[in-house]
Amino acid sequence: MSQTPKSRVVSAVLTKDLRIEARSRVVTNQVLPFAGLIMIMFAFALDNDDVLQRVAGGLIWLATIFSLFVIVQRSFAIDTSDSALDSLRVAGIDLSAVFLGKAIALTLQLIALDVVLIAAAFLLYQVHVSAGGLVLLVTCVICATAGLGFVGTLYGGLTAGTTGRETLLPLLLLPVVAPVLIAATRATEAAFGSGGAATSEGWAWVGLLTIFAAVFGIGGSLAFGPLIDE
């Protein structure tokens, strides 16, 4: 029996995950307010425009990473709650296509989240961005969220079905996403010109984000099937 083309599986899984999100609205009704609260609470806690402008990049990405844990757990809960993941395994499809479909869905949700968080930073922290900075910022968001999408899906698959996965996932994932937090923060600071940083300084960090996304994209595609199988 011939195997279903990979692109069809990617598309089916991607559509399924986004449709479930659109219907359940976990990201819009729970994750977004949670991330927004982080931004607002820091604004009140620091209560200093200069400091807030300086740390805006870091706060955006901290809020993104905390939100990542919730979205990844939700993404795999829909697959494990009625053993649909087992059905996917038995369907005899290429599980790397399932990985890609889920990772792209996760990335799109994170991009939507970051658009709101960056808008909140403009509003609450009074940050500014030049035309060149905007290009850098958009590229940084795409590369960083892709990296987070790939690594989140890989570790979500690793912890799916394990007991205590709610606490295990952040423990495993936080050290791994530290390079994304650092690089995306530096690139975002360069885009905002925080602390006198030049826009050009940010591109090297975007390079690091691209490498991270490529490594976890390729590594995840290869490892996801065996991980889910074990």
Binding site: M1, R8, K16, A84, V90
Partner: protein
């Protein structure tokens, strides 16, 4: 009907959570049979079904399913079997029709196959537009069985397929399994409802403490 062996297990040992859940099982199933696995809870029926689906590694012995050696390549058998375990393998937030269309896209089935399977299992019409989370246990079971029909599995592996179904659903399931057998599929199922299951099965096997004997 041919006497081709669809399942051929010889002294198979399957270790699950460091425990030999199947300890030296030897049995075979011919094409076109409907075989009942009976036995007490924890005897190894579910483990055997999951192993036949290529989901569990074989620790010892030789295990062939649909001509695939499970010791060396258990992935190859997966696209040719349909497994329905205790859970239904459905997405709760999607409607019945969306679930069916998702599985049909994964296996390259046509829309008319989906419509026919939904009619066969009595989940077409208004029920098809209902979210799975809002269905009764029996309706979910019928939805899961319809997805197996869409997948056109050559070997159906069913764990307590009658569970949660009302009398009409059970009759419909029995008819569906016989129709699947007539269409060339082989069915192996575990059940505690012995009377009904025996009337459906062409042969029964008893599973006790990880071994298999004729019932």
């Amino acid at each position: 009907m041919t006497s081709e062996k669809v399942i051929d297990f010889k002294d198979v040992v399957i270790v699950y959570d460091n425990f030999p859940a199947v300890a030296g099982a030897t049995f075979s199933v011919d094409a076109g049979e409907i075989v009942l696995l009976q036995g007490p809870n924890g005897a190894g029926k579910t483990t055997l079904l999951r192993a036949c689906a290529g989901l569990l590694p074989i620790a010892r012995g030789t295990a062939n399913v649909l001509g695939c050696d499970l010791s060396t390549n258990r992935l190859a058998v997966r696209s040719r079997v349909g497994l329905l375990g205790h859970a239904n393998g459905l997405f709760q937030d999607l409607t019945v029709l969306e679930n069916m269309l998702f599985w049909s896209r994964l296996v390259g089935a046509m829309r008319q196959d989906v419509d026919q399977a939904m009619i066969t299992m009595g989940i077409s019409g208004r029920l098809g537009e209902t979210q799975v989370a809002k269905l009764s246990a029996g309706q979910r079971r019928r939805c899961a069985l319809a997805s197996l029909i869409v997948r056109r599995a050559q070997l159906w592996l069913l764990d307590e397929p009658h569970a949660g179904l009302d009398a009409q659903g059970r009759d419909e399931l029995d008819r569906t399994l016989r129709a699947a057998r007539d269409a060339g599929a082989t069915v192996i199922f575990a059940s505690h409802e012995i009377e009904r299951a025996r009337s459906l099965a062409t042969r029964s096997l008893m599973v006790t403490t990880g071994t298999v004997k004729p019932a």
